[in-house]
Symmetry: C2
């Protein structure tokens, strides 16, 4: 059993990963990024969930994406339409933050080196993914290899949700004993809404992230 | 002829790359990183050199490495010995900043997407390199591939100095017509010294970076 770092946004996927990791690794830590996203409330939820599960939560803050200014998901671009296409690439959604996962995983990998952790767990998935090319397996495999040879490390990335639909992710969180926390505490909504409560959790119900979560829940309960 | 971005520290290597790029690309921009390095003076030199060569210089600032605190090269660790071995890995020097180039190149790649630039030029070299595994060709090739598939881009990394010794880098800067600027304006010294002047430029003369530059110069003039 090795020591793991969960890249932890406080969302449904990474909360499920945290439950999964707690059941498999001798030691688990989490790392969370404050990159001035619109839905900064997820950071608060991340901290709360980590505390509930008795794991450390290291917060790294930066405003690099703000300096690049290249996504509707950033607070600095709060008036941009999240349902539009991306300014750089019409095949990608406006919420895409170029190289976001590359940056997150690079920082997580540096932190894992420092802490002597051997596995990095991320909640990326390529089944239900929101059109983000940095949520696909070939990307993470390549990046893992690059980061390891660039630092003489041997840290493995794991992505237990990679081929799961949102419905299957709900099922996994049930199996890992973390469904209640996913529903009550994990945050998904791009608009940072935590006042509207639904059977599938809190959120505006309209943004792409809420729509995906709601559909996943409906599909999941049908399968029960 | 395509449009290029030079990852520009203001040091000897990236200044040489800038001269090289100016002679080969129709449009050249530079990007510089303020990561709270001890030798922050190099940023001032980068800005000055970019202005002299009439190219834009985009500065990105962040304190991520400070939050990780994992290198003697950081201002926050200014009392640590730059000539010791690294805390994480006895095979690496204390000045190694884990995943520094991965982070730089990831940000540069995001900026290139935004600006519509097709080539990123970096001054890494694996011949005279200071024990840094993130200055080797396989690392950059892997990272290039990862970043492109993670963003549906097709941006090429070029590294004209990859197999050059420091002496050959001096020779290249001569051939590209930029040797005078390299000697007078480029900054190498880890201790940020720009008061002591030598035939090979300014610097303390004692830190690993100065020693490498001085030796390279001596070897270069022997070949003339």
């Amino acid at each position: 059993m090795s020591k793991a770092l969960v890249v932890f946004s406080g969302g449904q996927d990474s909360t499920t990963c945290l439950g999964w990791a707690k059941n498999r690794f001798i030691h688990v830590e989490t790392i969370t990024f404050d990159y001035h996203q619109k839905h900064v409330i997820e950071i608060k939820q991340a901290k709360k969930i980590a505390k509930m599960l008795n794991v450390s939560n290291y917060l790294i803050s930066f405003n690099i994406f703000e300096q690049l200014g290249d996504s509707a998901l950033l607070e600095v671009n709060k008036n941009e339409d999240l349902n539009a296409t991306h300014k750089n690439n019409p095949n990608l959604p406006a919420s895409f933050v170029p190289n976001r996962n590359a940056l997150f995983f690079t920082i997580a990998h540096a932190y894992a080196q420092k802490q002597g952790l051997t596995t990095i767990i991320t909640g990326i998935n390529q089944a239900d993914y929101s059109g983000y090319p940095d949520c696909r397996k070939p990307f993470v495999k390549q990046l893992e290899h690059a980061l390891n040879i660039g630092s003489e490390s041997n840290i493995a990335f794991e992505y237990p949700l990679i081929n799961l639909t949102k419905a299957q992710t709900f099922e996994l969180s049930q199996n890992e004993g973390i469904l209640d926390i996913v529903l009550e505490e994990s945050h998904t909504c791009y608009n940072g809404n935590r006042t509207l409560k639904h059977v599938w959790g809190y959120g505006c119900g309209d943004c792409p992230a809420c729509v995906l979560r709601e559909r996943g829940w409906e599909e999941y309960i049908k399968l029960l």
